[in-house]
């Protein structure tokens, strides 16, 4: 207790530094226990992700779906609706995108691409919306429902790429390549950096405006602060809850589409594995503020790309990334609690 009191007495910036330092110590201990040098690991992590053009472009590419899914998480979390099933919504977005673009290959890319993106938003939005409606109407816990629906989505993807959407050659469990017209071209020649970055940044701006400057954003926050008070002031809190999960799922669906159109070019197993979980850490670290989400997405992209390098070069297992994510979420929750203590918030 005394040590927590000590941290609580620090000024806010030092407090974050103290928590970050504790996290770094913990990760170092885990690395040392497994016989790795933490300093060397840090060096390789940075060198692999930021130390060369290829790594840098991979970091930005990785940050794109994290940004879009992170925006979705933020929209839901602001209403205190906990969407932990973005992975399922990403899958249904991708299925919508690929299914739609393969069904209408004759259309020109200028028409087909936006329509397919809309199909992806609808697919993801539907998958999130189911959970939203069940929460709003039947009070079914959205954490359980979104996770259950994610397991259903994994199976649906597995079936789709071995059944109705399997490639014409019928050899691999994957879909045909989507028409060239719906591929997002590269922004910088010679890298994998694609125009999905522009889509992500547009989504950041749109989400920021919607949350900051519209009554929708205000109502969302009101429901998050206190749903009953919001209801008594005339806000339809249940509609807002259902809507927040639908929009959240739609943004995740867009992330799935961008990942297909920008990176893979077709539907395949595990095409965006773990994005939805990392996106939670992305959104929380950004304190649910859309403007910070691209930055925190970049940080986790550095971590993810660097950790792949660590696995290749030093044999440090990739799941270490999840430990770091958990520490970030814990730091967020602890910092929030200490801040409440500062403001003298008293509860029951």
């Amino acid at each position: 207790m005394r040590s927590i009191q000590f941290i609580a007495n620090l000024p806010a910036p030092w407090r974050v530094a103290a928590i970050a330092f504790a996290g770094a110590l913990l990760i170092s201990a885990l690395l040392l226990a497994a016989g790795f040098s933490p300093l060397q690991a840090l060096f390789v992590l940075i060198e692999q992700s930021l130390g060369n053009g290829n790594g840098l472009s991979e970091v930005v590419v990785r940050s794109v779906p994290l940004t879009l899914a992170g925006l979705g998480i933020a929209v839901a979390f602001r209403a205190r609706v906990f969407n932990v099933g973005a992975d399922g919504q990403i899958i249904f977005g991708a299925i919508g995108f690929v299914g739609f673009s393969l069904a209408l290959p004759g259309l020109s890319g200028w028409v087909l691409l936006p329509l397919s993106m809309v199909a992806a938003i609808v697919g993801g939005g539907l998958w999130g919306g189911i959970a939203g409606v069940l929460r709003a109407r039947y009070n079914a816990n959205e954490i359980i429902v979104t996770i259950m629906l994610t397991y259903v989505a994994f199976q649906a993807l597995g079936w789709a790429i071995r059944g109705p959407l399997q490639e014409s050659a019928q050899i691999f469990p994957r879909s045909d390549a989507v028409p060239d017209g719906v591929l997002l071209g590269t922004m910088i020649e010679g890298t994998r950096l694609h125009w999905g970055l522009a889509i992500a940044l547009l989504a950041v701006a749109a989400t920021y405006v919607a949350l900051r400057y519209t009554s929708f954003g205000f109502r969302l926050d009101a429901v998050g602060e206190n749903p009953l008070a919001a209801r008594f002031s005339g806000i339809r809190d249940r509609t807002m809850i259902a809507l927040s999960l639908t929009i959240s799922g739609g943004l995740a669906g867009l992330a799935g589409a961008v990942e297909i159109a920008g990176v893979h070019g077709r539907l395949q197993d595990a095409f965006a594995e773990g994005t939805g979980i990392t996106a939670i850490a992305v959104a929380l670290l950004a304190r649910l503020n859309p403007l910070f989400i691209p930055l925190t997405a970049l940080m986790f992209a550095v971590l993810s790309v660097g950790a792949s390098g660590l696995q290749r070069q030093l044999g440090i297992p990739f799941p270490l990334v999840h430990i770091v994510e958990a520490i970030v979420i814990l730091a967020f929750v602890i910092a929030g609690a200490l801040q409440n203590a500062d403001r003298g918030v008293r509860d029951a």
Binding site: Y138, I147, A326
Partner: protein, 309 residues
């Protein structure tokens, strides 16, 4: 005759599939009764499954693995307790952190130890009980006498916890704290300490569920092997209306759904197997819709308590 074999097999595996969910649901029922929500069971079960395999390999007996798993689960429970009880922070986000932490610890730990060995180590596991030959009886033998000892521990645990919650002084305290910590505190019940005990207990139970997966159902750890059971366990607490026997019944229901799903899969090779695998997850959603509204939720669930100074 085939039908008999089918049903005996179905019922016997109902208990097998229900047990990991039951352990986790029983622990969660107790901690929710005291007013603390832990949505991180999935992560704790993963760590339990990994530690059980590691401990069993290390000590040469599955009991060693069970002890290690329980210790790990209790530690994760203690972390959640510290954050949600002492710091009075957001219980849901702390639970989400536990999910991610469990994913990381089990994946990293496994690849650093058992997963990196070649040849793959053999993990000592629990063997099914025989009860002096009773397990060979027709019909009832395989169902009631041929299970792993952990199955009986889970069932006995449900009964014991029921007596504990509804027939003991401590159980009354736990329920009082979950209804109104302020009132409980006013009559001299130690709110924070009791809550700590229930959350640590809940962590240990979830880890036992994980241990069952890696040292009874299978002999060894597979990454992500819990595959949603931690969340189904939370759903079971809701279906069981926060009572241990209710949670047990709900876990058996999902165990049967899983057992049926696997059997129907092999009987219907024309239907893509993915639809059968989906079934228990869809069932959980449907059951939540039907059960969640009739709320018997502890009044102070998720509400932190600030002891008066």
């Amino acid at each position: 005759m085939l039908d008999d074999i089918f049903f005996v097999g179905l019922l016997a595996s109902t208990f097998r599939f229900a047990t990991p969910i039951m352990f986790a649901a029983l622990g969660e029922a107790v901690s929710q009764r005291a007013g603390v929500l832990n949505v991180g069971l999935e992560g704790i079960m993963l760590v339990g499954a990994f530690l059980a395999a590691l401990g069993a390999w290390w000590t040469g007996t599955p009991w060693g693995g069970l002890v290690l798993a329980v210790a790990g689960g209790a530690a994760m429970g203690a972390l959640h307790a510290f954050i949600s009880i002492t710091l009075r922070a957001d219980q849901i986000i702390s639970g989400i952190a536990l999910i991610v932490l469990g994913l990381g610890i089990s994946g990293y730990g496994y690849r650093m130890t058992l997963g990196g060995m070649s040849p793959p180590p053999s993990i000592p596991s629990f063997s099914p009980m025989e009860f002096w030959g009773l397990s060979d009886l027709p019909f009832v033998g395989p169902i009631f006498f041929g299970q792993h000892i952990l199955v009986y521990m889970a069932l006995a645990g449900a009964v014991l916890l029921h007596f504990f919650l509804y027939r003991s002084r401590w159980g009354l305290d736990v329920r009082a704290i979950g209804q109104s910590p302020v009132a409980a505190d006013a009559v001299g019940i130690r709110v924070q300490g009791t809550r700590y005990a229930t959350v640590i207990f809940g962590g240990a139970m979830a880890a036992m569920g994980g241990a069952y997966l890696s040292t009874a159902q299978l002999s060894g750890f597979v990454e992500n092997m819990v595959s949603g059971r931690g969340f189904i366990a939370i759903a079971c607490v809701v279906f069981g209306r926060w009572s241990p026997l209710g949670a047990m019944a709900a876990a058996l229901f999902f165990g049967m759904a899983d057992a049926a799903q696997i059997r129907l899969q092999s009987l219907n090779p024309d239907i893509p197997f993915q639809f059968f695998v989906m079934f228990p997850y869809v069932l959980a959603v449907v059951a939540l819709v039907f059960m969640a509204k009739s709320s018997r939720m502890p009044a102070a669930l998720g509400v932190p308590f600030q002891p008066p100074r």
